[in-house]
């Protein structure tokens, strides 16, 4: 029931996004036909290309065409390649997902471990070191960190390829770099919420049962801390899809983010519109999944749902 209700509320959101994306992209300065035709084209030539691209149709007709393109791939083709946008997107999506999911998973694991270490000995040497690294991880722009990593691991040490996406080794650096932000976020989050729960009475009960401290932390304290972490992970994942624009450009990975950048600079309207719509769709799905996970982890929210 809850799922259905959430899905029902997602549809208007997506509709609003489709309208906004369509209108905003239409407001981008510059005429796609003029950009395609080049600076030496005459007005008549630009007009002929505009007609060919269907840009002279009324706004409503073009919006209808845009909506039709969601289920009819042949109605939505790239201005530059003339291939269906869905083909362009599906070709690039796996790379984006590998980097985002890989980065998030790695960040989650590293961050949780670091958070536990900090919480076990607050104020210790490890805590101090991790806090400094965390601050660095949160404040360093991914773009700059990426270039630094290329300089160190590819140019100086020669361990990993600098850019490209032809072998699995090409994905190591981008995943490492993109994992820094979630790792930093999670270590802070897990550390604070663990410290908060550590003093709770139910943990004393667990200890009194004779459980080892590791068991107490991992199975009793951590589970409660994860509730907050899951919602943050959802937001982080969404942010990573958006951040792919930067990472993919730095590391030369052919993902959706790069496709979007290229499309914006060449005024390839259909690609921009559908790529953003797809990102919005992912955001909605991620929010839904986060909510479901939270419910599963925290029975209290389920009761509230029933009460309503």
């Amino acid at each position: 029931m809850f799922v259905l209700k959430r899905l029902g509320s997602a549809l208007p959101t997506l509709f609003a996004v489709s309208l906004l994306v369509f209108l905003f992209v239409d407001l981008i300065p510059g005429d796609p036909a003029q950009i395609l035709a080049g600076p030496t084209a005459s007005n008549e030539e630009i007009e002929s290309i505009r007609k060919f691209l269907g840009l002279n149709e009324p706004l409503l007709t073009r919006y209808g065409q845009f909506l039709r393109g969601i289920w009819d791939p042949s109605a939505a083709t790239s201005f530059r390649t003339h291939r269906p946008v869905v083909v362009e997107l599906s070709e690039r999506l796996p790379n984006t997902l590998i980097v985002s999911i890989g980065g998030l998973a790695l960040g989650l694991v590293v961050g949780t471990i670091a958070g536990i270490v900090c919480a076990m000995r607050p104020g210790g040497l490890a805590d101090a070191a991790i806090t400094v690294l965390t601050l660095a991880g949160i404040s360093m722009p991914i773009y700059w960190l990426g270039l630094l990593c290329i300089w160190l691991f590819a140019v100086n040490l020669g361990w990993l390829p600098a850019a490209g996406a032809s072998t699995p080794a090409h994905f190591v650096l981008p995943i490492l770099v993109i994992a820094t932000r979630p790792a930093a976020m999670f270590s802070r989050l897990v550390a604070t919420s663990l410290l908060e729960t550590m003093g709770k009475d139910y943990l004393d009960t667990a200890r009194a049962k004779g459980l080892s401290e590791t068991r107490v932390v991992l199975f009793h304290a951590l589970r409660n801390s994860l509730i907050a972490a899951v919602s943050v992970a959802g937001v982080q994942f969404g942010g990573m899809l958006g951040g792919s624009v930067v990472t993919e450009t730095v590391f030369g990975i052919p993902g959706v983010g790069r496709l979007l950048v290229d499309a914006v600079s060449r005024a390839d309207y259909p690609v921009i519109q559908y790529a953003i719509l797809m990102f919005a769709f992912f955001f909605v799905v991620i929010n839904l999944v986060t909510d479901l996970l939270t419910q599963w982890l925290d029975p209290r929210t389920r009761d509230q749902e029933r009460a309503i």
Binding site: P29, G30, P39, R92, W151, T249, S265
Partner: protein, 510 residues
């Protein structure tokens, strides 16, 4: 005796070397790896607008004619050509027995179909306007193609040797649809083996090629890396042999490498501030003053890091050098400029000018704009640089002169020859004349030059046009871009055309 022995060695060595050379020619060897900055979305010559796409089209397809690395026209598929006496029909004889890489015959009919497809309005080609003067194309028998020109055009060779005029296999194109843009079927020495969108693509020899430029490499691997720093890192780590577009700040680092160097071939790309000829800029003294106010040497050395040379003529090097005219460099003379402004009736601070610049379109474009504003301030002009994104800039510089609210805009031009460039920019009222330039003498000469087929006559006509334009100064002439590529020492024989197209004809690897 010793000399004799030495000459024996030399003889033996040279025989050996020439045998090796023969083998190299006979058998493609080695893989050339190239990192490019721009992602070629399509290789379809009717839509490609990137130098890397030109390089692929040149390797994968053939045109009737082609350009050598100095942009001189050479025959390719064509064996002979002639104009009809009235100049309205251009006839080309082509080689017989040639085939596309998929086995389809490349005959006169296929050539005509390729051109007619590009000129068809339904194709939506971005080059239809450029080639509109070709009119209709007919095949006569197996080996003769007739161009029934829409208007007499003495510059047709230049048009036909551009990679946009490469012969596509229309039959294969109809079957493949948009996929043709990724794996075009042509008749050139190479063919596209694979294409991974945004990541890269690979060219391999076309086994059925029988022309004059056989493949010398077993494969050419292209990787697309838009970020400058990452792309340079690929050359530094030895992962690629050639990198495109070395930024000025990376040149010393590349030159310091043991096994790679930066090469700086000239570019035909000519960058100018194009004026809107009305208000204060309708006065030739003001235009002259602006031209004198600029330290071109300083800009090209200090801001562009050497990747530019001060302009000495309207069109850049490589734009039909046989017709091109150059002049002594424009002096840097702020005092003279001030005097001219005073003559024109402007006291210091009285004249206000604004100019539009793109950001990220040309090397260091927005920095150059600030420098130009400074130079104008120095001669007492209130200058406002308007630095805008690429889309807005395209819109502004593409406006009719009457609609413009600014006074000038930076535009780079590299186009398909003298006639096309000058006619489009300076003929009165033509759609792409964005300065509003009008000069009856230039109009008459441009018309005459377009119809003229005799090279000597053309030289005379275009010489005069270039004289007039250079002295009228409808532009603030700035610089010609210089290319910068990082090339590993193992790469031999790589040539680069002035339009930034890589030519693989004679490339071998050590």
């Amino acid at each position: 005796m010793r000399n004799l022995r030495r000459s024996c060695y030399v003889a033996a060595l040279s025989v050996g070397v020439s045998i090796m050379a023969l083998q190299v020619q006979a058998q493609p060897a080695g893989t050339l790896r190239i990192a490019v900055g721009a992602d070629p979305a399509t290789f379809d010559p009717a839509f490609n607008d990137l130098p890397v796409g030109n390089a692929v089209d040149l390797a994968v397809m053939e045109g009737l004619f082609r350009l050598d690395p100095q942009n001189n026209v050479q025959k390719n598929l064509a064996t002979d050509y002639a104009f009809s006496p009235d100049g309205k029909v251009f006839t080309v004889k082509i080689r017989t027995g040639r085939k596309f890489s998929n086995g389809d015959p490349l005959n006169a009919e296929a050539v005509a179909a390729s051109f007619n497809r590009m000129l068809d309005e339904k194709t939506g080609s971005i080059y239809r306007g450029l080639y509109a003067s070709l009119g209709t194309i007919k095949a006569v028998g197996e080996d003769t193609v007739e161009f029934h020109l829409a208007e007499p055009n003495g510059h047709i060779l230049m048009l036909l040797s551009n990679t946009a005029a490469s012969i596509v296999n229309v039959k294969a194109l109809q079957a493949m649809g948009a996929e043709y843009g990724r794996k075009p079927v042509g008749s050139g020495p190479y063919m596209v083996e694979k294409f991974i969108g945004g990541e890269g693509f690979r060219l391999v020899p076309n086994p059925s090629y029988s022309g004059d430029y056989p493949a010398t490499l077993k494969a050419i691997d292209f990787t697309v890396v838009p970020e400058d720093g990452s792309r340079m890192a690929l050359l530094e780590t030895g992962s690629v042999d050639v990198v495109e577009r070395v930024p000025p700040e990376s040149m010393p680092a590349i030159n310091a490498l043991k096994d790679a160097k930066v090469i700086n071939p000239p570019s035909m790309f000519s960058i100018n501030m194009e004026m809107v000829l009305r208000g204060p800029l309708a006065d030739p003294r003001v235009r002259k003053a602006l031209n004198l106010a600029i330290d071109r040497e300083g800009i090209t050395k200090g801001i562009l890091g050497g990747l530019g040379t001060p302009s000495v003529g309207m069109v850049g090097p490589g734009t039909q050098d046989e017709l091109r005219k150059t002049f002594p460099p424009i002096a840097f003379d702020p005092e003279g400029a001030k005097k001219l402004l005073a003559e024109a009736g402007y006291k210091p601070g009285q004249l206000t000018l604004s100019f539009t610049c793109p950001t990220g379109r040309y090397i260091k474009d927005s920095q150059v704009c600030q420098a130009l504003a400074g130079s104008f301030e120095d001669i007492g002009i209130k200058a406002t640089p308007i630095v805008v994104d690429r889309g807005t800039w395209t819109k502004v510089v593409g406006m009719e002169p009457a609609q413009r609210t600014d006074n000038m805009g930076i535009v780079g031009r590299a186009t398909a020859g003298m006639d096309y460039t000058l006619y489009r920019l300076f003929f009165t009222g033509v759609g792409a004349n964005r300065t509003g330039y009008t000069n009856p003498r230039v109009d008459a000469l441009l018309k005459e030059g377009r119809a003229a087929t005799d090279p000597a006559k053309q030289k005379e006509i275009y010489g005069e046009i270039q004289n007039i334009v250079w002295s009228d100064q409808p532009f603030l002439f700035l610089w010609y871009q210089t290319q910068a590529l990082g090339v590993a020492n193992r790469v031999q024989g790589l040539a680069i055309q002035p339009n930034e197209t890589l030519v693989f004809d004679k490339v071998t690897l050590k």
